[in-house]
């Protein structure tokens, strides 16, 4: 099965990447200029890849749907970025970072890729520092680090609560340098509508100019997708409201395998939904759980305000269930515990879908000033959004969709099952298994973009040096453009009554209710049924005012929702297939008597890579067996 060759280099784990780099083919500098590469997305991975490829001398074209590359959603990451620098002398190493990630991912990630991600993490920190990213520093002028959930070392570099923004702006600056040099050409406000294959290889994209509505053809020798995750399937999530899965989904429909789509991380501490109009859930950094205690009243539907509930009538459910880790359990465990309490009727607030995160005891013990120093900006943000002052009253929080570990299947070279099509950052599946560790998404995205892809792509392009500039007059481009136009035409001609957002909201509710933090077979099947009905209704009753030859946000949204309606079905198919509980994927049928996840390594220690089999046909499952040579699979316990 050639398509599923993960191309892991031989040799011991710690030597694989070095060996790979030593043997990969290179492209002569004079030839690089003649080779064009398309990068879609300008987050940490996309902007990083584009700048690194530009520096090498390739002709790069970069696309993003926002008005500027600086707005990619990497910007919203708060906590930090991990690296195995061991600046604290606390016993950290590449191996330990690798092991923490493998374990945190509940042994569902590919060993070689994870090790490499840990290996390049140090280069990422060096590079960002050189780019002028103002990481926090100690008084001696050296870089400071902090601890993060699920690990025992302090390896997280940070820039207050805006690490993602600062790293992204670093990438944006290096991208700008290449734009000035002319090696990178930027195409903002473009949405990728389709991938163009010529002789089975990725050779370009069809894009829509979001201002003029023009459909454009762009050819290249290779295409890189850096388009992020699909967490907005829940409608309400911590993602940007325009984040979408369309580029990856189009690639899937053209033959790229989609791996582990059901692995979606739900983050426990977010501002809960306040009203039915809400469009977005805001993350409250994981670091709050260092001092905040999560609780609910012991009485169901307790009408009293939080401060009037006496100590003995409070249920600190995390401390009760997980005495060893208490409030600092990993994200998936914390989220499920909060949901369990609310489902049992102990939720608080108007919607009863929230739990308290209380700083009363911490303020009493450390003083208001100390708490303000640690979390001042988060408390302020919470006050702005909710009007509740967390110094006086406990925060109300609830879990929300946050990150997708699943994504396009890639081999060791980050190439998808379509030759010449690469997927980097959150858009691929490779490094986080079934649950991502805090502060490792920035690390992986930047590592993929700056240091891994530029090394692996030359191994492919070395064969292409005699291939002339890809002409967009080829019939494959015409065909893809025609298909893209027809789809727009189809969407525009429905002329129904409901907005795309209203379908999205309903889809999100189905997904959240049946395919959220916990899943079961009956619920998944029901959701599949409901989504199919919703999809039918969508194609009958969608309303898009305005024209397609103009800036039309409703049309953009409609295209994305149409793709979500398909992707969610694949996601559910994957969730039904995976008859085990691992990481963020919790099947209620597979749990221990005390409600913990029960993995099934015998049958499910594989990556489920799904192949599109045409309209109306069930997708085909390909299994990539996960072999663990260096680590032993263990059961995670936080009791």
């Amino acid at each position: 099965m050639e398509k599923m060759n993960s191309k892991i280099p031989d040799g011991p784990l710690s030597q694989k990447w070095t060996r790979y780099k030593a043997s990969a083919r290179l492209v002569n500098p004079a030839n690089k200029k003649k080779l064009e590469i398309i990068v879609v997305g300008t987050g940490l991975s996309g902007a990083g890849a584009a700048s690194a490829l530009g520096e090498l001398g390739y002709s790069v074209k970069v696309f993003c749907y926002q008005d500027s590359p600086r707005r990619a959603h990497s910007v919203a990451a708060q906590g930090g970025i991990n690296a195995a620098k061991n600046y604290q002398n606390d016993g950290d190493s590449v191996y330990r970072l690798f092991y923490d990630m493998i374990k945190g991912g509940d042994f569902r990630a590919r060993e070689a890729n994870v090790y490499r991600a840990a290996e390049v993490s140090n280069q990422v920190i060096d590079h960002f520092t050189a780019l002028g990213v103002p990481f926090a520093r100690d008084y001696g002028g050296t870089l400071d680090t902090r601890s993060f959930g699920g690990v025992q070392v302090s390896r997280t570099f940070y820039a207050k609560g805006q690490t993602g923004q600062q790293c992204l702006l670093g990438c944006y600056s290096s991208l700008n340098r290449q734009i000035k040099k002319g090696s990178v050409k930027m195409f903002p406000r473009r949405e990728m509508l389709d991938l163009v294959l010529i002789d089975g290889k990725a050779r370009g994209i069809i894009a829509r100019n979001l201002i003029t509505g023009e459909i454009e053809r762009h050819g290249a020798h290779a295409v890189v997708l850096a388009t992020g995750g699909y967490g907005t399937i829940y409608y309400l999530s911590t993602l940007a409201v325009n984040s979408n899965a369309s580029a990856a989904w189009k690639a899937y429909r053209k033959g790229a395998f989609f791996a582990n789509p059901s692995f979606v991380q739900i983050h426990p501490t977010c501002v809960p939904q306040l009203n039915e109009y809400q469009s977005k859930l805001t993350l409250m950094s994981e670091s709050l759980r260092n001092d905040g205690r999560m609780w609910v009243p012991k009485t169901k539907n307790d009408p009293r305000p939080a401060n009037e509930i006496p100590e003995e009538e409070r249920d600190y459910f995390l401390e009760r269930r997980y005495p060893a880790y208490g409030n600092l359990v990993p994200r998936d465990v914390g989220s499920r515990a909060a949901k369990e309490r609310c489902d049992a009727g102990f939720g608080v607030g108007d919607t009863k879908l929230a739990v308290y995160l209380d700083f009363r005891d911490a303020i009493k013990a450390q003083g208001k000033k100390a708490i303000e120093n640690k979390y001042g900006n988060l408390f302020e943000m919470y006050l702005t959004i909710t009007g509740i002052d967390p110094y006086e009253e406990p925060m109300r929080i609830y879990p929300a969709g946050h990150y997708t570990m699943g994504g396009l299947w890639v081999d060791y070279e980050l190439m998808t099952s379509i030759p010449g099509l690469y997927a980097i950052g959150e858009s691929n599946f490779s490094d986080h298994g079934a649950n991502r560790l805090g502060a490792s998404s920035l690390m992986q995205a930047a590592g993929d973009g700056y240091f891994i892809l530029p090394n692996t792509i030359s191994n492919y392009l070395a064969d292409d040096i005699r291939v002339p500039k890809i002409s967009t007059d080829k019939p494959e481009f015409a065909e893809a453009e025609k298909a893209a136009r027809e789809r727009i035409e189809k969407l525009m001609s429905i002329k129904g009554k409901q907005s795309a957002a209203s379908f999205h909201r309903r889809l999100g509710k189905i997904m959240w209710d049946y395919v959220g933090m916990t899943r079961n077979e009956a619920g998944l099947k029901k959701a599949l049924e409901m989504i199919r009905e919703l999809q039918a209704e969508f194609w009958k009753d969608l309303s898009i005012p305005g024209s397609a030859e103009d800036l039309n946000p409703e049309l953009e949204k409609a295209g994305r929702v149409a793709d979500f309606l398909e992707l969610t079905q694949l996601l559910i198919t994957d969730a039904l297939n995976r008859k085990e509980s691992c990481g963020a994927h919790f099947r209620e049928e597979y749990q221990t008597p005390d409600g913990e996840a029960m993995r099934n390594d015998k049958e499910f220690a594989y990556v489920a890579a799904w192949e599109y089999a045409g309209e109306g046909n069930p997708p085909v499952l390909h299994r990539e067996e996960l072999k663990f040579e260096e680590v032993e699979m263990k059961v995670r316990s936080y009791k």
């Binding site: 520096e55 500027s68 590359p69 050189a130 903002p188 009203n275 957002a501 309303s543 800036l551």
Partner: protein
């Protein structure tokens, strides 16, 4: 809450725009300003009318996409927040709310409340970077940076590029925006090597694009959602003189 909205509607860059009045009778004070516009748009779409176009994305105050001039203030009357964090709680029941796009020659209107801010990207690509290749960076701790400088650089670096400074300035000047980037790099040893070329290139580009001049009025600082300080502009001026 009941509200009267007067929203600038303009079909495209070439068309003439005008204010259109919308009455909203069922606004919840818990909505954000953008969610209020979402609900207006939902109604418009259901009546097959074109919804109000506006830029927005992260809705948590960090991406810099959103930006509207609301009742005489960029990002609305509450200081130090972006439009997406403006809550209907912050406005009065029965109020008439004027919503306008950013107005500046270098920010032409694209549609309704969406303006073209690519001028900001052009300024950044003129010199807003440190020239270091991937793989060519020294060990991160080999260059110590004073903690105060790192903190100050951070305070300048948190600019989100929303354009509120230009929108607020009576001269449509981009000095606060440019000075934030110049300051971030000027304060770090990594950025000193190219400091002269950078400030010359960025200021030249800013002038070329048609932004106005700084008259130290301070509207930019007052309206900046990230509270970037005017002291950055003084530093930019200093760096600029040093470069000649």
């Amino acid at each position: 809450m009941k509200l009267t909205l007067k929203i600038w509607r303009q079909k495209n860059a070439r068309a003439r725009g005008t204010f259109v009045t919308y009455r909203m009778d069922d606004v919840s004070p818990e909505m954000s300003f953008l969610e209020m516009l979402d609900s207006l748009n939902k109604k418009l779409v259901e009546e097959n009318l074109e919804p109000v176009a506006f830029d927005h994305d992260c809705r948590e105050g960090i991406c810099g996409s959103c930006g509207m001039y609301i009742n005489g203030h960029p990002h609305g009357p509450v200081p130090a927040i972006t439009t997406c964090h403006l809550s209907m709680r912050h406005l009065r029941d029965g109020e008439t709310i004027w919503v306008e796009p950013w107005r500046a020659k270098p920010f032409p209107v694209i549609k309704d409340l969406i303006v073209d801010r690519s001028a900001f990207d052009k300024i950044q690509s003129a010199g807003g970077f440190i020239s270091v290749n991937s793989g060519g960076a020294p060990e991160a701790n080999s260059i110590p940076v004073k903690r105060k400088n790192a903190d100050d650089a951070f305070d300048s670096a948190i600019c989100i590029g929303c354009g509120a400074c230009v929108a607020a300035c009576k001269n449509a000047s981009a000095m606060l925006f440019v000075s934030a980037k110049i300051s971030q790099f000027a304060l770090l040893p990594q950025g000193r090597t190219e400091a002269k070329e950078r400030v010359r290139a960025m200021v030249e580009k800013m002038d070329e694009l048609g932004f106005g001049n700084c008259s130290n009025t301070g509207a930019c600082e007052a309206e900046c959602p990230k509270q970037i300080k005017l002291t950055n502009i003084a530093r930019l001026n200093r760096e600029y003189y040093k470069a000649y």
